[in-house]
Amino acid sequence: MFRMLRGDYGGQILIALVVLACAIVPYLNLYVPPSSPFHLSTFTVTLLGKYLTYALLALSVDLVWGYLGILSLGHGAFFALGGYAMGMYLMHQIGDRGVYGNPDLPDFMVFLNWDQIPWFWQGFDMFWFAMIMVMFVPGVLAYVFGWLAFRSRVTGVYLSIITQALTYALLLAFFRNEMGFGGNNGLTDFKDILGFNLQSDETRIGLFVASGIALILGYLSCRAIVASRLGRVAVAIRDSEDRVRFIGYRVDKVKLAIFTFSAVLAGIAGALYVPQVGIINPGEFSPLNSIELVVWVAVGGRGTLYGAALGAILVNYAKTYLTGALPEVWLFALGGLFVFVTLYMPKGIVGLMRRRQKEIGA
């Protein structure tokens, strides 16, 4: 089963670390007493869990950008859609414990004087259905979008711009109250997931471990694609799309398949993110978010998968630190980081490490 990891030392290390974290973090949180210096607060566990979902999101971006050459500036949209699907399930779980105590309608609908739940909220009270939608909705959007774009051979900057427009359009749409997704405030005040209290340490640990498992499975499936002949076709498309057509591959179909798969991964990441942060609002569709996650991948090193995961975790760690210490600096730091990486570290941190290794070897 782990055939795809052969020769991928970075991936092996990444997976080993995630497995280790999934074993140690619960122990440090649940069994080490809070008085001990080794105790890990639930706040930290949630933060780490959030990083793991970001890492999964970064993987999905790297798959299309690093291997297929599609610079998507709209992957945040797929993440957010997955998040909303999960959010809708969590809203149903609140039941009559909302402020208005309406057993059928989420608070914001009562507030809007709606008397019945819209049709597209149907079924989201069932966990399995919501989980299918977590993958299905981003997948279908990516499929339709990709079908239109790849068939008409939109590439390069133009494609990046329309992905950006896509997420911006969704941002505007989800801001509207009439859309039925809570408008400006989004979905929040979640109580339970599968009947487990979202505030409890155990649930938080469960979500953390679930994020770790999702990251590992996501990594393995991306690796399975990349290590297959399809992965080599993807790289060939990245470097010389025309040439690939002349040896008989349907470039549009290859792109469509990988792009859709990537959107599904991003959706899953979003679904794991929402219960941990406790809210999903239209801000997640912000174009800036999508650009930020491209920066993660660039910093880590694109076209390596594990580099993308590494970049996501490092940049977000820096973000957590900086937005706490010097909030006004963060955006400048992000912009500066991107310029610096593009100019001096075109292969990201992974590229630097590889070069260092070669120098030592030589």
Partner: protein, 276 residues
């Protein structure tokens, strides 16, 4: 989709219904006879006529050389055959029946027309062997490509091709670090992996040493017969060494056609090309 295409094809106004046509027209493409034909093809780029009423027929198993000054439209002709460029008017047929216009590049490639580009384009990030593997004939749908594995016989054939193109030692090396001549060879190898009926080869000898050129001549000559080979080349010695039949292209039109000797005698050809 397929039905729609069939319907469109049946409803064409410039054609009699295919069932009215004599049966003799329907032949398998590997048979003797014309395998590739261009009729009255025109193509302008922003008012500039790159291809001007081009008519040409190539027999199965033939080794045809196409020569002509820079900008004569040789590459554009190949673009039209392989589906990269859509002509303004005219017809392009593969075998007796297959209409290449309206087919996409991958469809044409899968139908058995392979192409080597003027500027060697190999996938530089991949190894030599991987380049060949991608080009290999077979089911190229997304799922089969994902599941694909080299079978024993495919491995053998890949080895054979590596030997033919003289790259067996560097098979695991990145193709980006090959020399210009070696890239040319690799591209020819990719063409062989596709096992096409027709090979369109654009300037194969560019950047090759004399020795390499001789090897190319030998290879192309050996391929003709079982395959149809169309070569565009500038190097006259090279053309002389392989050509059975030569077509001279000038301003997008066929200026002369015949054996190398005939063509060289032709006054107009001397004027526009050989004389200079």
């Amino acid at each position: 989709m397929k039905q729609l295409d069939t319907l469109r094809e049946t409803m064409r106004r410039d054609e009699v219904f295919s069932f009215v046509k004599p049966d003799a027209n329907i032949q398998p493409i590997t048979d003797r006879g014309v395998i590739l034909s261009l009729e009255g093809v025109n193509k302008s780029f922003d008012g500039f006529k790159a291809i001007n009423d081009l008519n040409m027929a190539i027999d199965a198993g033939e080794l045809r050389c196409i020569i002509g000054p820079n900008g004569a439209g040789k590459t554009t002709m190949m673009d039209i055959i392989t589906g990269k460029t859509v002509p303004d008017t005219g017809r392009v047929r593969f075998g007796q029946t297959m209409n290449l216009l309206g087919m996409s590049e991958p469809e044409i490639a899968q139908a058995g027309i392979g192409r080597k580009f003027q500027k060697p384009t190999v996938f530089e990030a991949l190894t030599v062997a991987e380049n060949l593997e991608l080009a290999m004939q077979g089911d190229k749908s997304v799922w089969s490509t994902f599941r694909a594995k080299l079978s024993g016989s495919q491995q053998d054939y890949l080895g054979e091709v590596l030997e033919t193109i003289g790259l067996q030692d560097g098979a695991k090396g990145r193709s980006g670090s090959l020399s210009h001549g070696q890239k040319q060879w690799l591209e020819i190898g990719m063409l062989l992996m596709q096992r096409p009926h027709v090979l369109l080869v654009d300037e194969p000898a560019a950047g090759m040493t004399h020795q390499e050129m001789d090897k190319t001549t030998e290879l192309l000559t050996s391929l003709a017969g079982d395959h149809t080979v169309v070569v565009v080349e500038h190097d006259m010695d090279f053309v002389r060494s392989i050509a059975q039949r030569v077509t001279v292209l000038h301003q997008g039109h066929v200026l002369a056609e015949g054996s190398m000797d005939d063509v060289q005698q032709d006054q107009r050809v001397i004027e526009v090309y050989l004389g200079e």
